[in-house]
């Protein structure tokens, strides 16, 4: 369970609010978060594993305060970024997954075996020794996912994981994410993917604009955005 308790974020220099005090309890297995660019979606989900600290209020994951017990929370929460290139550190696919496993598996051979198994599970077994620079965008995202899943997180936060992917990879990565046995918090601009969640939260201008059924949330979001466009065109 993830719990936001009046968590707010302000810009460190200017003090401008980025996210208004927000209280949410996230218990569903798949939650999608949608909203306009710059609305505060990424800020909200980055608070889940302490990448962005709340200026006021708190965030708890499984009863652990993220601000106080960040490392323990991060072991439970996997994070998938929009651009996988920034998430991949080692030169080859297997070495990158092995890096994730350094914390838990001491022996190199066992680590390599576990890493290969993780890659095979995700469908990249045959690309294990390939340079990460030689992988396609979709394969890189899968590799980033393999690196996250190798350490068996309970919660997976995916910040626009399919934005940079073509339609084929978008469908593949999307269905793979939905089938994982973890709680999935997905920030997305893909409304087709958003409606497949169990709950959808619309974030707009730094606050929760809608929270509820995905179909209603997407309809609300469309009205909000198209209404804004029409108003701009009218002026």
């Amino acid at each position: 369970m993830i719990e936001f308790k009046d968590a707010a974020v302000v810009a460190p220099d200017s003090g401008v609010p980025i996210l208004e005090p927000t209280s949410l309890t996230l218990t569903e297995r798949h939650i999608s978060i949608i909203g306009a660019n710059g609305g505060g979606k990424s800020t909200l989900v980055r608070m889940i594993n302490g990448l962005v600290p709340p200026a006021s209020g708190s965030v708890e994951v499984e009863g652990l305060d993220v601000a106080k017990q960040g490392p323990r929370v991060r072991r439970m929460v996997g994070f998938l970024f929009t651009d996988p290139s920034a998430q991949l550190i080692m030169p080859t696919a297997i070495e990158d997954v092995m890096l994730s496993l350094r914390r838990t598996i001491d022996k190199k051979d066992e680590r390599a075996e576990a890493a290969l198994a993780a890659l095979e599970e995700i469908g990249l077994g045959d690309r294990a020794d390939v340079s990460v620079n030689a992988l396609s965008g979709g394969q890189r995202q899968l590799l980033a996912l393999a690196g996250v899943l190798a350490v068996t997180p309970r919660i997976l936060v995916a910040d626009e994981p399919t934005t940079l992917l073509d339609l084929r990879w978008r469908a593949h990565v999307g269905s793979l994410l939905r089938s994982l046995p973890v709680q999935l918090i997905e920030v997305t601009h893909d409304l087709d993917s958003a409606v497949r969640a169990e709950r959808t939260i619309v974030i707009d201008e730094g606050s929760v604009a809608f929270d509820g059924s995905p179909v209603e949330a997407v309809a609300y979001y469309r009205d909000l955005m198209f209404g804004r466009v029409k108003r701009r065109q009218a002026t």
Binding site: T22, R74, R103, L149, P181, R199, S207
Partner: protein, 297 residues
Amino acid sequence: MISMLGLYRPRHTPLHHAPAWLKVLMLVAMAIVTVVASDPVTSVGLMCASVLLLISTEPPAKATAWAMLGTVLIAALSASLHLWRGDWARAIDVAADLIGIVALALAVTCSTSMAAMLDFVSTLARPIRFILPPETLGLMFALMLRALPEVARLYLESRMAARARGLERSVRAVVFPTTTRSVGFALQLGQALHARGIAEEARGSRKADKAEARGESRAARKATKRRRGKGAPAVADHELTKAEAFAVLGGGPSSAAAAGSSAGPSAARAGATATASPTAPELEDRPATRDDSPTQR
């Protein structure tokens, strides 16, 4: 340089099986010998040995050929300078030394995985572990290598963008975006490292992880005690039970719909609290493990 970073291929050659420390030691020894010995026969002999070693690692042909071609060109230039001065022995010596060292360095690169090299760097850094943790040093090394192709990519993209805007002669139009995007990449990489929990853990914490992973409850308890002493809570205090795990993961669509109906657009503006109570769990009766991950190809 950048193409060299992906040269390693897993093979079953003698050099692949040799430990990283031995290969690095060999490289250092070779460098010292080439500096000390100025005999062309020795240099040519060492060069031949190095090239043979490189061939024995079955390196990727194209990238290796390009690297060697560049080296041979530089060696030829250096040699021609000495020949112009009439010192043919020195010319052969310098050219052979250069080609030999690069060939051996390539042989080491082709036969040593980054993980093995990181382990070696970590071992090497053990004496200064109180100042700089060996793992951090190894990670720094990996990040440096990782950043090189990325910065090169950013540079090429910036150059193309400048060209597209008709600013191909403007240094600023290339340097500024390359610099700012490199900083952006570094920040993203830092966040990713943070999110993956790499290099942020104290040694005691790491030991506890391993103990927990192996199911060695005694060791885990000891490590937990140590952490407790430092103010962190016990592991067991927050470990979810099976039932709790299902409660966490099992919220069904019905609960979401119920929550949705209660928190409509009108209610939500003020940052409304939306708490969905978990209903019928949809997961099967066991905790989530990696074995549960689907195999999709």
